[in-house]
Amino acid sequence: MSVAERVREGGQTTVRVGEDELTIVRGGQGNPVLVLHDELGYPGWLNWNAELAAERELIVPLLPGFGRAPRIDWVFSWRDLIQVLARWLREQKLAPIDVIGFSFGGWLAAEMALADPKLFRRMVLVGPFGVKAPDGKGEIADIFAVPALKWLASTVKDYENLPEFAQLYGGGHETPEQFEAFDDARAECARLAWQPYMFNPSLPHHLGGLKGVPTAIVWGDQDQIVPRAAMEVYAKGIPGASLNVVAGSGHRPEVEKTDKFLDIVRKHFEKN
């Protein structure tokens, strides 16, 4: 797709959800797709957004407390956050909506679907947290054990040779403002998912009940953040789910192998 055909980010709006507010980034046109970003915050309007927005409207809530929007004081765990998002979708009459959830956002999407399958039509989960792999088969990497920049670098296979890496999170990775934003996002991760760390021990037991929401799991085979075995739990647990392994990609196939990623997304939406 040419640069001219890519669609820019359309801007931000704020909506009330009960006593609180959600800030939403929108862009593109067509049937809406909900995008739930990852644990470091909204990474910005990337190439994959610009391309997909030519055919779909992307709706990206800036998760409260994750560096770009203030936190909601009473939100004490991930369960609270998914309820805020679910309420917003219902009240704005956006449900049922397609969803693409990345990493922590992927976990949120899975839990939202289980809590209310009427929220989503189809679901793509990209390297989702939420499931602990069987013993000995790897762990979700610990975001609190390393500095934010080291975490960021480890989310891709080769940050030094990835052109779009420099654009992630607005590009100012080492500015004081970005340091603060990353700290906010990771602090919110601590509030929402400190222990059990980034997973729900009950989730694997619920997945079999998720019927009627065709699901594609996407995982880069060089992913250092979530183990393949956890993706297999998702793919085997959700009826009819597919596991789509992207060769040569780390935890961000949407950035590292954009064409392949979009191919998987489009085929999943078309097939279902």
Binding site: F144, P147, E177, A187
Partner: protein, 447 residues
């Protein structure tokens, strides 16, 4: 004045008797740039046990030497301090000493999980000791949150609510129930309660965190500065004094404590040489890597912004995102050591280490006392030094240094917290408080 002494109870080897192990441990710390989370396969429990017993023997001996108290602290997952459960040591001292105050600076409340049990431990120590416990509360360093899996984002809430629960358990007749935000108890009815009423005095150690200083002033708890540089310590004590005024009281020396690194020996050169070992492994600079000292959510917004300016530097071209550790050559490690130890002389000039014979250390201590005017003064003895030299240092502190310091204290009016209750001197509303620290003495201190 109240005079006590402190040691981290480090796991180390004496370089004069076990030079290879001494070197191996230091090199490992430097390769990791952190004492925290050094692999514990390097720890020999028999050797560690020998050291723990030595440290306890020193404290028991110090009762004979005339110290008013001994200070303990707590850290986890580090050879920097083996006091992983300092209440165990405090319990031993409660039984084996008779007069010493047992000062805990402090229990890391957010990390203990069951704060009611912590209250019970402390109550038992106070009961067994006959009412000699001085508990202290800390938030715990950032790495303590990781070591105990305590949520750093809830650190301050856990700290304040946890202390609240402990104090309630000591002062509210039981049984009663408690349902809070972070703590929930069906039955609070401890049959162990402190002898000291309404509860033991609390002393709060810190590293010049304005939030902690202000909290202490509001609560009228003495604030014990942990070997911080003199100038910023003066600033924090001014902050405390002004807050105290807003609370309606005049702060005095009884509200302040200071921890002073020191080494005393009969021979000046020997003392200076042994004092240098305080910098082993980079000392506090390598306590834990920054990302472990400041886990997300641990700091206030203001502190995070200060850190952001410190750590985020877009003007460093080519700064690697990955900081490689662990594969340095021995020569590179020796170079890191040179960079550490080259600062020793400056640390002595800054009075961050006072090392010498009694004759030479007393005037240096005087300088610190003239600036800060603390009613609580703690000598800090650390670094990989053999037992005999440590013992001699304590003896010289007891026989020569402390009597002189007490005289200086009388001369300067350094009233301790057991002579005058902190927060007991009223100050009329709107009246400007007298400063406790004497900023105009700073220049003379370094002359």
């Amino acid at each position: 004045m109240f005079l006590m002494w402190f040691t981290e109870r480090a796991y180390h080897y004496d370089p004069e008797t076990e030079p290879e192990k001494y070197r191996e441990l230091e090199n490992a710390v430097l390769r990791q740039r952190s004492f925290f989370a050094l692999p514990n396969e390097m720890m020999d429990p028999k050797h560690g046990g020998m050291l723990l017993n030595q440290y306890l023997d020193e404290k028991i001996y110090s009762e004979q030497l005339g110290f008013d108290g001994v200070m303990l602290n707590e850290h986890h997952a580090t050879p920097f301090c083996m006091g992983a459960v300092m209440d165990v040591e405090a319990a031993v001292l409660a039984k084996t000493t008779e007069k010493l105050k047992i000062v805990l600076c402090g229990n890391p409340v957010p990390t203990v999980g069951n704060v009611l049990r912590l209250g019970e431990e402390l109550a038992m120590i106070d009961m067994i000791s006959g009412g000699r416990l001085v508990p202290g509360w800390v938030r715990g360093a950032g790495c303590e949150q990781l070591a105990n899996n305590a949520n750093p984002a809830h650190n301050r809430e856990l700290f304040e609510e946890g202390i609240d629960v402990i104090v309630k358990s000591w002062t509210t007749p039981g049984p009663f129930r408690y349902e809070g935000k972070h703590f929930h108890y069906r039955v609070i009815d401890p049959w162990v309660l402190p002898i000291q009423k309404p509860h033991p005095p609390f002393w709060i150690p810190g590293l010049v965190s304005p939030d902690t200083v202000l909290w202490c002033a509001k609560k009228r708890y003495p604030y014990v500065a942990l070997a911080t540089q003199l100038a910023p310590t003066v600033e924090m004590w001014k902050l405390y004094t002004e807050q105290a005024a807003r609370e309606g009281y005049q702060a005095g020396p009884e509200n302040f404590g200071y921890l002073q690194p020191i080494f005393v020996h009969d021979n000046e050169e020997r003392a200076i040489e042994l004092g240098k070992r305080f910098m082993y492994g980079g000392a506090f600079a390598h306590f834990a890597r920054p990302e472990w000292m400041f886990p997300p959510g641990y700091n206030s917004k203001e502190a995070t912004r200060r850190l952001a300016r410190l750590f985020a530097n877009p003007n460093q071209p080519g700064k690697p995102i990955h900081q490689a550790h662990g594969d340095e050559t021995d020569e590179e490690i020796e170079d890191i050591k040179r960079q550490i130890y080259v600062n020793y002389e400056q640390s002595r000039k800054d009075l961050q280490m006072i090392a010498g014979t009694p004759k030479t250390v007393i005037p240096q201590i005087r300088k610190v006392l003239e600036v800060l005017r603390p009613g609580i003064f703690s000598f800090w003895l650390d670094g990989p030094v053999g037992a005999a030299d440590r013992k001699r240092c304590l003896e010289l502190l007891g026989s020569e240094v402390m009597p002189a310091v007490r005289e200086i204290g009388k001369e300067l009016g350094l009233v301790g917290p057991f002579e005058r209750a902190p927060g007991s001197v009223p100050l009329a509303s709107g009246k400007t408080p007298a400063q406790v620290a004497q900023e105009d003495r700073l220049a003379a201190a370094f002359a």
